[in-house]
């Protein structure tokens, strides 16, 4: 009796949406002590499931992760312990562990992967990439694209500036299909490359297909949609350009933007051998932003709609067939990165003010900012969605860390409910510790693939792969 007085009990209803961990019907409603925390509940569920190897679980009440004891939760929300609490349990995110780092000669600005689940692979439908043959594409400030296999070996490198490659730093690179790569950089071009991998062990070949001219300043972000063979690029010249990835569709390049016109540019061109690549222009240039455009993406469900973020604090929705801005959502900070969360119909935007805002881009939404995720100590310049978790997000920031977020993981502070990061991934090059203002270890690009894990690139000239332990079939 006395123990009961010390630990009052309450009835909880356990449920889950994941089929492999469903509890038998009779076990779903049980009495538990209210002083239990996540760990206690997790071991309880593991006991009920009869798991030999315990799986860590997280518990959701009303879509919010339980981060305190049940007792505290009840007190905080003024719920009687007599009521039955509905607890949804999900497999907890596992703290990512550093798997590998691929060293580069210069800063790495962007990464992309080719795996069975990557969009480029899904679009191509050309068989399937054999597991273990995933490729990692990295774009570097030295103007070279590199394709790596997961054994940290370079399978291919793009030609240097003299051989018809990017004249200066590459800022963004993406797989269009397993055999095509798009890249853009501070030389104001977007380039499409052919990537051919021989069946035998001979090195793969990367050759330039099309040069896309039209931007007047550095092209900082690209987005590709292979099925409609469209490519979007965001540039510091305040425009977003829509391109065709097919040579036949694309119009000719505007004469003025070609480097030949410049005397000094011509001089520089003479240094290297002139390699004849087709030069093409944009289908349309979307001009509405008043500051450098930092990021652009296709809407996850509709390739005719695009979102772009800019330093002018705005998120714009574009209708691509008519090339018109449909809607503008204004925030109070410069926006530097963009990712869509399709399940919540939100887009996440990283800001220069060290946080991530979740913006509802729909015109009907009354609140511009649905939620704020706080934790970074410097500008958030890259965002990636969690392929396994519809609420998950990974962000790369200039503070030298990648953070993993779950929209359901929140805390309440003076501004109301703000998102709280689940894990923070530091740079392995400095031992994972954080450094003031991310000096020397800024993260420029992050990508989350279900097969490979979290791939991030940064100022420390490395591509770093992190992954929750044992959750996937990656081998070293």
């Amino acid at each position: 009796m006395e123990t009961e007085q010390v630990n009052p009990q309450m009835r909880v209803q356990l449920s889950t949406s994941q089929l492999d961990i469903v509890l038998p019907e009779r076990n779903r409603s049980i009495l538990v002590n209210t002083n239990l925390r996540r760990y206690g509940l997790s071991s309880l569920v593991n006991t009920l499931l009869g798991n030999e190897k315990p799986i860590p679980f997280d518990f959701l009440i009303n879509g919010i992760f339980l981060r305190s004891s049940l007792d505290d939760y009840l007190t905080q929300h003024a719920i009687s312990s007599e009521t039955t609490l509905k607890l949804e349990y999900v497999k907890a995110a596992i703290p990512p562990i550093h798997l590998a780092s691929f060293e580069h000669g210069d800063w790495v600005s962007s990464v992309d992967v080719l795996s069975t689940t990557s969009p480029a692979q899904r679009w191509s439908n050309s068989g399937g990439q054999i597991p273990g043959h995933e490729r990692i594409l990295s774009a570097s400030y030295d103007g070279l694209l590199r394709v790596w296999n997961i054994s940290s070996q370079i399978t291919a490198t793009s030609p240097s500036a003299g051989d018809g490659g990017h004249l200066s730093s590459i800022k963004a690179a993406k797989f269009v299909s397993p055999s095509r790569i798009a890249s853009s950089g501070t030389d104001r071009t977007v380039r499409l490359w052919k990537y051919e991998e021989a069946s035998d062990d001979s090195p793969a070949v990367m050759s330039q297909q099309i040069e896309l001219y039209g931007h007047k300043a550095s092209v900082d972000s690209i987005a590709v949609h292979q099925p409609s063979s469209r490519l979007l690029s965001a540039s510091a010249d305040h425009t977003v350009c829509l391109w065709s990835t097919r040579k036949s569709d694309a119009p000719a390049a505007p004469h003025s933007s070609l480097p030949v016109n410049s005397s000094r540019g011509a001089k520089r061109r003479k240094i290297g051998p002139a390699i004849s690549t087709s030069q093409r222009g944009y289908l349309s240039s979307l001009k509405s932003h008043t500051a450098p455009v930092s990021s652009v993406i296709f809407a996850p469900n509709d390739p005719t709609v695009a979102y772009s973020t800019s330093w002018d604090h705005g998120l714009k929705t574009w209708d691509l067939p008519t090339s018109t801005p449909v809607d503008t959502r204004s925030t109070s900070h410069a926006l530097l990165s963009l990712a869509a969360i399709p399940y919540l119909k939100l887009v996440a935007a990283g800001t220069s003010a060290r946080h991530i805002t979740l913006i509802d881009p729909r015109a009907s939404a009354t609140n511009v900012v649905a939620m704020t995720l706080r934790g970074h100590t410097n500008a958030v310049v890259s965002l990636a969605t969690d392929p396994n978790n519809t609420f998950g997000l990974a962000s790369g920031s200039h503070d030298g860390t990648c953070r993993i977020w779950d929209v359901r993981s929140t805390k309440t502070d003076k501004e109301g409910r703000v998102g709280q990061s689940m894990y923070s991934v530091g740079r392995e090059s400095i031992g994972g510790v954080s450094r003031t203002s991310g000096d020397g270890v800024k993260v420029f690009g992050v990508l989350w693939d279900s097969d490979i894990g979290i791939v991030s690139a940064g100022e420390d000239k490395r591509v770093q792969i992190n992954r929750g332990k044992g959750a996937g079939p990656i081998t070293q």
Binding site: W107, Y141, S168, S169, T186, R188, H215, K216, A217, S218, A236, D237, S256, S257, L258, P259, N261, S262, R264, G265, K267, A291, P292, W311, D312, S332, H333, A334, L336, S352, A353, R354, T377, N378, A379, V381, H398, T436, S437, D439, K442, F444, E459
Partner: protein, 778 residues
């Protein structure tokens, strides 16, 4: 019957005494008869004469006690001669008329028996004798001279001896001769003669009758005589009957219908009620709370009885009279009632208690009589304590100013409300060898240019800190200043290295933009060659604009160069991007130069300039030029070519200044650690002086992109960010709030932060440090 009559008679006489007196005074005829009757009736007014008369009557009574006739005659006489007494007449008429008449005749007959009878005796119808009396001759016509003359017997003495007496002498009979009547008595007599009212003595000519005036007419005449209005009852000064009352009633009665506003709820009252409700909601008005009784007294507070020996004093503000002491109670009596006496327990408790703990200062004690009350035992002690009070207590009220100094400071808004402003270091730009002397963010906000002691100009990607391009201009001279040309139509970077001014087009821009920038730089070559300057060649050798000699520089994008005569320390562009000014403090007359880019022209605006120029700047909107010397800032109107104003910040050595984008305010940084805000409309003296740095301030800069921010860079290695809101309204002063100190730069050789610049749109600032780094703060 007889005694009854006697009393009656006496009564009548006594009544007559006054009447007789009147007769004496009024009727001469009566008087004379009385004199006849008595023989000697003095005409005196005194009692004696009257008494004598009464005595005469009394004698008559006694004499004729049984003689009714004589009494009757006397009565008759009285009645005849004094008809004024009607009662008596009546009595005579009723009772005794017949006999009385005969008797009196008899009496008369008795007295005047010697005189011939004046009647004829006849016989009446009955045969009885009938006396027919003749008319009596009253002898009025006879002279009174025959009356016996009274002779004064006083002899030959002057009459003046009797002046003090009522009489003038004595007659032969020894009676007093009365003083003859004087005028007053005659007047009185005349007055008594009745003149009919309204008698005028005139005859009415119409009727021939004597004119008599009626009472009314007489009154009329009387009033006319008195100068009055003839009409009777006329009031020349009637009481004012007011048409409207002069009294002002405080609450007049009114028959006006009730106005509508009495029934409509008052908006004004609703407003006031809402005001109160709002105040209650906001907590400005608190509900009444009964004051808490301080049960436990604060021991730290000491109390003094300032009225211990209070003397009555004249009423004065500084004199607070002592409160009234309650009247003494029963227990203070020397002989209190037994219920007020303490019992043994109370007594011991009182005695054992400390002096301060005792509830009463005294113990009620019973003395059977007052003389048994002993002397006051605490007298000496009390006097001693009073003396202590006197010399220990301050006698002067010191008015101490009890104001919290914090409360005097103006309420500044909290920095949290003034966001956004830079708070943390976002990027560190590493690469310069040696100090970074100057830096600038390009007008588009993407790049950062910096120049330093290593002689290189570097252009960085602002956000990532990636160095995009660099050129080494000089190996010995430091880059003193780099500034971008304003405007996004071209990208031109100007840099000052020693005495040289370079114009650079960094090769990081699109070909289109590059060609446009090239055109801008090269325009002037044609102008310079076609139109040689004749005016300036006279005195000053023309400043040559040329391409840099080294092809390495030309290839790197350094396209234009001009050489002045002294080291350039400051470059400042005009907002249109065609003019720029350079300041070389050591250049004396040629220290401030204005260059025209499109003409490759260098002008020297000032022949003589007082003081050592430190900095110069164009007004953001007007053709006004600011030149800062060590102590002052002069403003010149460029179109009129005249001095407008001399701003005196009061600093010993101005290091830099910046003009607010709206043009009315100025911030000045000085080497003596001060940052001064000037309102140009207000005064030439600083509006506010901010002294927050420990060392000299090197650079001050306003945010130009619409945010109310400004920053200063100091040698103590820190930057300070201020919120400086300028309101267009002239009545309101600028709000200046320090919001952030940015620390991070290292101090190298007593130099800290050398330059600061703002991003053109965002609340980001960049700083150049002597530690060889630039930092971006967001």
């Amino acid at each position: 019957m007889a005694p009854q009559d006697a009393t009656k008679k006496r009564k009548a006489i006594t009544r007559d005494s006054s009447a007789a007196d009147e007769i004496v005074l009024s009727d001469g005829g009566g008087d004379l008869e009385a004199v006849f009757l008595e023989g000697s009736v003095s005409q005196s007014e005194d009692d004696g004469s009257r008494l004598s008369i009464s005595h005469v009557f009394a004698f008559d009574e006694e004499e004729s006690d049984d003689l009714d006739e004589s009494e009757e005659s006397e009565e008759q006489f009285g009645t005849d001669e004094v008809p004024s007494d009607p009662e008596q007449e009546k009595v005579n008429g009723t009772g005794l008329n017949g006999s009385a008449g005969s008797i009196s005749k008899l009496a008369w007959a008795d007295e005047d028996s010697e005189q011939p009878p004046n009647h004829i005796v006849t016989e009446d119808a009955n045969g009885n004798p009938r006396y027919i009396y003749q008319d009596i001759d009253p002898i009025y016509a006879s002279d009174d001279s025959e009356a016996p003359e009274t002779t004064n017997t006083i002899g030959n003495i002057p009459l003046s001896f009797y002046d003090s007496y009522p009489h003038i002498g004595y007659d032969i009979n020894g009676k007093k001769i009365a003083r003859p009547a004087k005028g007053e008595a005659l007047d009185a007599l005349l007055d008594s003669i009745d003149i009919p009212k309204g008698w005028t003595g005139l005859t009415d000519p119409n009727t021939g009758k004597p004119l008599e005036l009626s009472e009314q007419e007489l009154n009329l005449l009387k009033r006319i005589q008195m100068n009055e209005v003839g009409e009777e009852g006329y009031d020349p000064y009637p009481a004012t009957i007011e048409y409207f009352t002069s009294k002002t009633e405080s609450m007049p009665l009114s028959a006006a219908p009730e106005p509508k506003r009495r029934f409509v709820p008052s908006k004004h009252e609703a407003k006031r009620v809402m005001k109160i409700v709002k105040a209650i909601r906001e907590g400005r008005i608190l509900p009444y709370k009964p004051p808490q009784e301080d049960d436990e007294e604060d021991l730290s507070v000491q109390h003094y009885d300032i009225w211990a020996n209070e003397a009555p004093r004249p009423d004065h503000a500084m004199n607070v009279p002592a409160p009234k002491v309650p009247p003494p109670g029963y227990d203070e009596s020397y002989h209190p009632p037994p219920e007020y006496l303490p019992d043994k327990k109370e007594k011991t408790a009182w005695e054992e208690a400390d002096d301060d703990d005792r509830q009463k200062e005294y113990l009620p004690t019973d003395h059977s009589s007052l003389r048994k009350v002993p002397g006051y035992d605490k007298f000496t002690k009390e006097k001693f304590e009073r003396c202590l009070d006197l010399y220990l207590a301050p006698r002067i009220r010191r008015s101490k100013l009890n104001i919290d100094p914090e409360s005097l400071l103006p309420k500044l808004p909290s920095p949290d409300e003034l966001r956004p402003f830079p708070t943390t270091c976002a990027t560190i730009f590493r690469g310069h060898g040696g100090r970074v002397r100057s830096l600038a963010v390009d007008p588009s906000g993407i790049w950062l240019a910096s120049g330093g002691d290593d002689g290189t100009i570097r252009v960085w990607e602002l956000l990532t800190g990636r160095q995009l391009w660099h050129v080494k201009i000089s190996s010995e001279d430091a880059i003193n200043v780099v500034r971008w040309r304003p405007g996004t139509d071209a990208v031109i970077l100007s840099a000052a290295v020693g005495e040289d001014l370079y114009f650079v087009i960094p090769p990081i821009i699109s070909p289109e933009l590059e060609s446009r920038s090239n055109t801008l730089l090269d325009e002037g070559f044609g102008y310079a060659s076609s139109k040689p300057r004749s005016d300036s060649t006279a005195k000053i050798p023309a400043v040559q604009w040329s391409r840099p000699t080294s092809t390495r520089l030309a290839d790197a994008g350094v396209l234009l160069k001009t050489r002045l005569r002294s080291t350039i320390k400051v470059i400042s562009w005009h907002r249109r991007g065609n003019y720029l000014t350079t300041v070389s403090p050591s250049g004396q007359t040629s220290s401030v130069m204005i260059h025209t880019l499109s003409k490759h022209l260098t002008q020297q605006p000032f022949r003589h300039l007082k003081g050592l120029p430190q900095s110069a700047q164009f007004h953001p909107t007007k053709p006004i030029f600011f030149v800062a010397t060590q102590r002052t800032i002069r403003t010149y109107d460029l179109s009129k070519q005249e001095l407008l104003k001399i701003v005196q910040p009061g600093a010993r050595w101005i290091s830099s200044f910046d003009v607010h984008p709206l043009g009315d305010n100025l911030i000045v940084g000085s080497y003596d650690k001060r940052l001064l805000w000037h309102d140009l409309d207000l005064s030439v003296r600083p509006y506010k002086t901010l002294r927050y740095h420990k060392k000299a301030i090197r650079q001050v800069k306003f945010h130009t992109g619409g945010l109310p921010l400004f920053a200063d860079a100091s040698d103590d290695g820190s930057l300070q960010i201020f919120h400086g809101r300028v309101v267009g309204d002239l009545m309101e002063n600028a709000t200046i709030v320090p919001v952030k100190v940015l620390k991070g730069h290292g101090v190298m050789g007593s130099l800290g932060v050398l330059d600061v610049d703002w991003h053109p749109r965002e609340p980001w600032c960049v700083s150049a440090g002597a530690d060889g780094t630039c930092r971006l703060w967001t």
